[in-house]
Symmetry: C2
Subunit: 424 residues, 2 copies
Amino acid sequence: MDLVVAKFGGTSLASSRRIRNVARRLFAYQQQGYQVLAVVSAMGKTTDGLLTLAREVNAQPPARELDVLLATGEMVSMSLLAMAIEGLGGQAVSMTGRQAGIVTTTRHNKAQISRIQTGRIRRALDKQQIVIVAGFQGITRAGALTTLGRGGSDTSAVALAAALGAQGCELYTDVEGIYSADPRLVPRAHKLDSISYEEMLELAAAGAGVLQMRAVEFARNFGVELTCRSAFSDNPGTLIKEADMESALVSGIAYDNSEAKITIRGVPDALGIAATVFAAIAHAGISVDMIVQNISENGHTDISFTLPAGDLARLLPVLDAQVAKLGAREYLVDESITKLSLVGAGMRTNPGVAAKMFKVLSQHKINIEMISTSAIRISVVIATAKSEQALRALHTAFDLDGDEIFVESQLTPDEQAAKAQKGR
Amino acid sequence: MDLVVAKFGGTSLASSRRIRNVARRLFAYQQQGYQVLAVVSAMGKTTDGLLTLAREVNAQPPARELDVLLATGEMVSMSLLAMAIEGLGGQAVSMTGRQAGIVTTTRHNKAQISRIQTGRIRRALDKQQIVIVAGFQGITRAGALTTLGRGGSDTSAVALAAALGAQGCELYTDVEGIYSADPRLVPRAHKLDSISYEEMLELAAAGAGVLQMRAVEFARNFGVELTCRSAFSDNPGTLIKEADMESALVSGIAYDNSEAKITIRGVPDALGIAATVFAAIAHAGISVDMIVQNISENGHTDISFTLPAGDLARLLPVLDAQVAKLGAREYLVDESITKLSLVGAGMRTNPGVAAKMFKVLSQHKINIEMISTSAIRISVVIATAKSEQALRALHTAFDLDGDEIFVESQLTPDEQAAKAQKGR
């Protein structure tokens, strides 16, 4: 009997009405003859609310107790979903990470799944029960409760699909799938039918935040095909799988204006200087994204790099110290930058993409401040003021525009009916 | 080393500020050299909120999943309290019912504690950790999560105190202790320094709802002395223990206007008629409180009884059927009744209490509709319109009036300061 593994995010479980909507979907799968395993996140913004409470009672909440606290969010949604299924006449059983046999490393708040003891799940599935597993949580070998960190529920779902030998895993969110670009910025963006793991990883790393990289990597490593689709419609979503033999030149364009650019000017051009600066930054726990070092002039050089703008406050004292220590001239901060990344597996065998990208940007008189590339990605940093214009121009130039303007709904059928009722 | 067992109700944990307040109290006990075990309820109205959600997804939520859902409430408060203690520099560890070794019967939603495996708690206490246990929950021998029903946290605390050989158990609520009468109705009501288990049980059964009867019975059976006190002050509260040799004639007066009175008129006075009626009512799951049957006249009689007014809607169809079946004349419903109960261990050896009570009521021209008694309690049913006047008259007549009018605060020191600040 075929097994469906489906994961539901917080938005799709944010109210009792939405939970009933998810229950109907799972029950329908069972009626069609599938075994069904669902992995759930906490309802709506529950996790954020719990984190706020934790910080109110202790500015630095101890990791062990924080895991106990956060794990309750998924316990609430798993039991409510099981009740909703039973309300439809189905058989369901909820399982915590412990009950589902999800064994993790001991690192609280950021544990990694080390193995899954699937006996209890298999027995329940064999009894035709719909199994609802709390995502995001597990236990250590010693029995302590752990959580997997943000986006951990996707990882829980993929790991369970792998452990149970399921062919695929459906990840239900509040969007219809993966788009060629953010539809809020590019109205003609089209939904991709499929995309390779590698492209998805590049898009995620470049700031297209639908799926967690970690879950995609896990899926690639274990050969689990992912379907990213909406809990609010029956549309098929986007399939994430091994690359096809023939790949699109460019599958999508990621847009990320969450970074800031730093330029350190007049750095003495001696061996190991860059290493010193970036070691100090890493030591402060700050991850740097792109780095560019200019050609030396008169024994001095400029170093530019980007980082999440949210880390600027922590970075600046480190930079002050480094600039003084190295005898550099000054540093400049630019928060009005945007990174655009073209991603496509076809780039591997087609060298013309970068040239075309640069040509399009120059035709629109857009200055490129930084460039970085991988085998299947080209990223440029440009001024935010022109970034949406650039995004749309590139989207058109690389033949990504769809035939129609897609309108997404984030309402369940129930909610749509209620809204229509109200409108009368 | 002496062990303090303290239970905190939902009101005393209703906000992060209140949780910090409780943390300070527990940490102070530890600083004074005590081992400390705390049992917690869910924050504020959390349990009601979860119940509402459950009923929204399934009008009759399955018992197993309901227990999983409800148990999360105590997990949230236990972890937050542990974090708050660590924030003060203390060492704390939270434990679910499972981790605390609380083994129950298998009856979901209304399980009873069958034994407690205290090893894990003892090891933590011996390591000088403040142990925070989730009240209201346990596990069956087979490992399924259970809850103990309403007020179960008090029972958890008393059972843990008994299992650990603690001398007493402190029950922190939002009132200062047990009063001679409800201070909202009798401004001169005084707080009792101590009261016997039996008196407390009678008061609780008569509607004075500070403590759950079940927890008091448990405490009596295992010889655990209870202290009922406020989480918002340092006042000593009321001690609940074995009766003294010399007991007060009347310790307190319970006031209950939550009941309704039914009178079935013209019931044929044949053997077993009353049994038939009350069997039908019990079959509908309705508990009857007082029952009075009048002397027969012309082969017919009247039967009166009281029940929780909230059960009326379920009772009436049963009564309609019974009245028709028995050929009784009619039935009358009176929701404007109040039950007043005098409770005092001294009544056992002093027969004059009932006579004095009736005299006081007649002096105030208050008609007694029903009477019931136990060895240490006399209850009367009177019209609600005169019930507060009657309560105050009896309170004075039995020398229960205190010297001063007590004003309770339900604010933590923090909250009082914040309020004073605001008032400026």
